[in-house]
């Protein structure tokens, strides 16, 4: 125990003596927490620039455009004289949506013929296109509903009856666990966790490999006396520091960006501890298997770079091809993000995250175990 403690003190001193590492440890998480958070500070896409071409120029076409402009996400910014100019607005990237109302739109509707509003949406950015699609359909539906209500009133329905019967089946949608459908709440926890995993892997990766580069691993082994104390003593300062970093995120950075956090604080701390254990374990395994610091960092980059995409946080693992899934399951972030969402967004208890917790525990134990074997083997 004493040997592990001595190793921990030595590791903490090494860390303090290295300016780049200290900077990375102390400033990077905060910098990334705040900078990446600010990208999504608008939370939802609003004021999406739209260009319109109204060839009908009637009260009804102006009303239709007013409805579209009044939606939360679309802002009519450009008025085109003809369809060609409309196309130019969207091809130049000035407008995300181009709306075209043909001549005869209003007169057709008055004769009971359907009127079509053609909208070209920039589908290259799906996030923007989905929002535009939904807003345009709602606006068109609202205008169509007015005509139906008018017919029902003419044919004898009272005002209330007509309002009920123009669309007898209505949808009440409930956006569970993220009622505003906002992207800040959705994306940021995943992005932050990815950065923190990268740091954990990097520090784990450099802990032994860095000593190999400096030629001091033998000394570290002598201070520790054995591989178990060496691993425990080296991991301890990072584990303690990262528990603090996670606490800063939970207590300061999440509230700063007003990201709601449900669930038990104790459970969240336990989950964070398991993630730290698993990610540090993976880092130490990379470190033990590496000949030098560069090898370790390459390994870290190999796991860390695609981690968010593979984690299933954005694109579900079930939709990935079979040969990608095993890689996804090997990365601690995959299990952590699944459990994090369950605890903090669903507000669920421990029984709901047992599989992920077990996976993190197993990953950490297997990785530290393999690192121990590697260190023991080297001594032999």
């Amino acid at each position: 125990m004493n040997k592990a403690a001595r190793t921990a003190v030595r590791e903490a001193r090494r860390l303090i003596a290295s300016r780049p590492l200290l900077f990375l440890l102390a400033a990077w998480p905060l910098f990334y927490g705040l900078f990446l958070g600010s990208i999504y500070s608008a939370r939802v896409v609003t004021e999406m620039p739209a260009a319109v071409c109204d060839e009908d120029r009637t009260a009804m076409s102006r009303l239709a455009l007013r409805y579209i402009d009044a939606t939360r996400s679309i802002a009519v910014k450009y008025r085109a004289a003809d369809a060609a100019q409309l196309q130019a607005y969207i091809l130049s990237g000035k407008a995300e949506t181009a709306i075209y109302i043909p001549r005869g739109f209003s007169s057709g509707i008055k004769r009971g013929k359907p009127g079509v509003i053609t909208a070209y949406v920039n589908g290259a950015n799906l996030l923007v296109a989905n929002i535009a699609l939904s807003e345009l359909r709602t606006a068109a539906g609202t205008i169509a509903a007015g005509a139906r209500v008018k017919f029902l009133r003419k044919t004898g329905s009272s005002g209330a009856k007509a309002l009920a019967a123009y669309a007898p089946v209505k949808v009440d949608s409930f956006k569970l666990f993220n009622p505003g459908g906002n992207y800040l709440n959705y994306l940021l926890p995943g992005i932050w966790a990815t950065i923190l995993q990268q740091l954990l892997l990097a520090f784990g990766g450099l802990s032994l490999a860095g000593e190999k580069d400096e030629g001091t691993l033998g000394r570290a082994r002598r201070v520790a006396g054995g591989p178990v104390a060496l691993l425990a003593g080296k991991a301890l300062p990072y584990a303690a520091f990262f528990m603090l970093v996670f606490a800063v995120f939970d207590l300061a950075i999440f509230p700063f960006f007003s990201i709601p956090r449900g669930g038990s604080a104790l459970l969240l701390s336990g989950l964070n501890a398991l993630f730290i254990y698993a990610a540090l374990g993976a880092g130490f395994l990379i470190s033990a298997a590496s000949e030098e610091g560069m090898d370790a960092l390459k390994g870290v980059l190999l796991i860390g770079a695609p981690a968010l995409l593979l984690s299933g946080y954005i694109w579900p693992v079930s939709y990935m091809p079979w040969f990608v899934k095993p890689f996804a399951l090997l990365i601690p972030l995959t299990h952590y993000l699944g459990a994090l969402r369950t605890v903090t967004q669903y507000g669920a208890g421990i029984t709901y995250i047992l599989p992920q917790a077990a996976a993190l525990l197993a990953t950490g134990t297997l990785c530290f175990g393999a690192a121990w074997l590697k260190l023991r083997g080297r001594r032999a």
């Binding site: 359907p114 090898d295 960092l297």
Partner: protein
């Protein structure tokens, strides 16, 4: 000058082949990441999202509503639950991503000429999965509403055809351009592979430059390049430029067509802009490399570059929804300008002028970075007493 260039160029090519770190960074990782990241999105669209059903009405009409939701390609009703609480629990357990709730008296309300509510709950903790669920419910409800309204109007003496017209009196004919199938592969993959390539160029250059510095080979390189910083920089960068240009062409004409993505611009525009992008990134990499003294420091710092660079580029979250200082950070990064153009050219033929803006920006940035790298190298030589 040419002799000096060739000497350093040959030396750098040999380094890429012989150094195991450079071999992995420059030769293996573009293949590995390019193919793996593209494969993640091979499914292209989120469809058949598993959802639950809570049917408290249990009538022919409620079953019809559920059948219509299930019939959309967006969702699959996986199983039924007795209560909304059970269904929500299934969402939390990850069995389903949302559920449809048909309240009691749904059918009776419609028959009485009243309004019936179909409730849909989707797990918005993941917006990508939740959107198709809401869309499916909304489409099915509109469909059913239209049919019920047509029946009612027909009963009131309106010719059926006119009644059908009335249900669709104003229709939004939404045509997604650039990505007509609205699939995620077309949306993400072109950007991802070039974000990865940018990272590989910068990391590769950072490694080679810092390693030379760390091992004190400045004087050797100075002599080999005949004391010309410009020749040294050009020759050191040229192998990376050529190699990564070749990888870019492999991505554009080999990997992306495999996923049915082909640039609509002519080869001259594609080759020209891609070359400008790779050249600009290479020059950017030279400047970034000069900030580090040790390879490990460079690696440590740069492993945190690619994700923020991708996020601030406006590729996923639009630039106009970002604060001004984030937009400012994105401007000097080459991918910001290249990816926006490249994604559009994959979707539709662009007018001739569309190439001009990104080309000018990339050329200007590239020239600025190359000049900065030259100034830095000249200063380093002076400090070392070589020039």
């Amino acid at each position: 000058m040419m002799q000096a260039f060739l000497a350093v160029f040959r030396r750098e090519c040999l380094r890429i082949v012989r150094n195991r770190h450079l071999r992995l960074i420059c030769l293996a990782s573009p293949f590995l990441y390019g193919v793996m990241l593209a494969s993640v999105y091979a499914h292209k669209r989120i469809n058949a999202v598993p959802v639950g059903l809570v049917d408290m009405d249990n009538s022919a009409l409620s079953r019809e509503a559920a059948r219509r939701v299930d019939a959309t390609e967006n969702v699959d009703i996986l199983r039924s639950y007795d209560t909304p609480a059970q269904a929500q629990d299934a969402v939390i357990r990850g069995e389903v991503h949302g559920f449809l709730y048909v309240p009691k008296d749904f059918s009776r309300d419609i028959k009485r000429g009243g309004e019936a509510r179909l409730r849909v709950a989707a797990d918005y903790a993941n917006v990508v999965v939740a959107n198709p669920v809401l869309m499916a419910a909304s489409d099915a409800a509109n469909d059913l509403s239209g049919e019920l309204f047509t029946g009612l109007a027909a009963r009131r003496g309106l010719v059926r055809r006119r009644a059908e017209d009335l249900t669709q009196l104003v229709r939004a004919d939404v045509r997604p351009i650039f990505n007509p199938q609205m699939n995620y592969l077309d949306f993400f993959v072109p950007g991802l592979i070039f974000a990865v390539l940018q990272q590989i160029i910068i990391v590769g250059l950072a490694f080679t430059v810092t390693e030379e510095r760390q091992k004190g080979r400045g004087a050797e390189l100075y002599e080999l390049s005949g004391g010309r910083p410009a020749a040294l920089l050009a020759a050191k960068a040229a192998p990376y430029l050529l190699l990564n240009f070749a990888f870019s062409l492999f991505f554009i004409y080999g990997l992306l067509p495999f996923f049915d993505l082909r640039p609509q611009a002519g080869p001259a525009a594609v080759l020209g802009l891609t070359l400008l992008f790779v050249a600009c990134t290479t020059a950017f990499g030279l400047v970034v490399s000069s900030c580090f003294r040790r390879t490990t420091d460079a690696f440590l710092a740069l492993m945190f570059f690619s994700m923020p660079a991708f996020l601030v580029s406006g590729f996923s979250w639009p630039s106009y929804a970002m604060p001004w200082f984030v937009r400012a950070v994105a401007l000097p990064i080459p991918t910001t300008h290249f990816m926006a153009w490249f994604r559009m050219t994959l979707g539709a033929p662009l007018p001739p002028g569309a190439q001009l803006r990104p080309a000018l920006i990339l050329a200007a940035l590239g020239a600025f970075y190359a000049f900065s790298a030259w100034l830095i190298l000249r200063r380093l030589y002076r400090r070392a007493g070589l020039a």
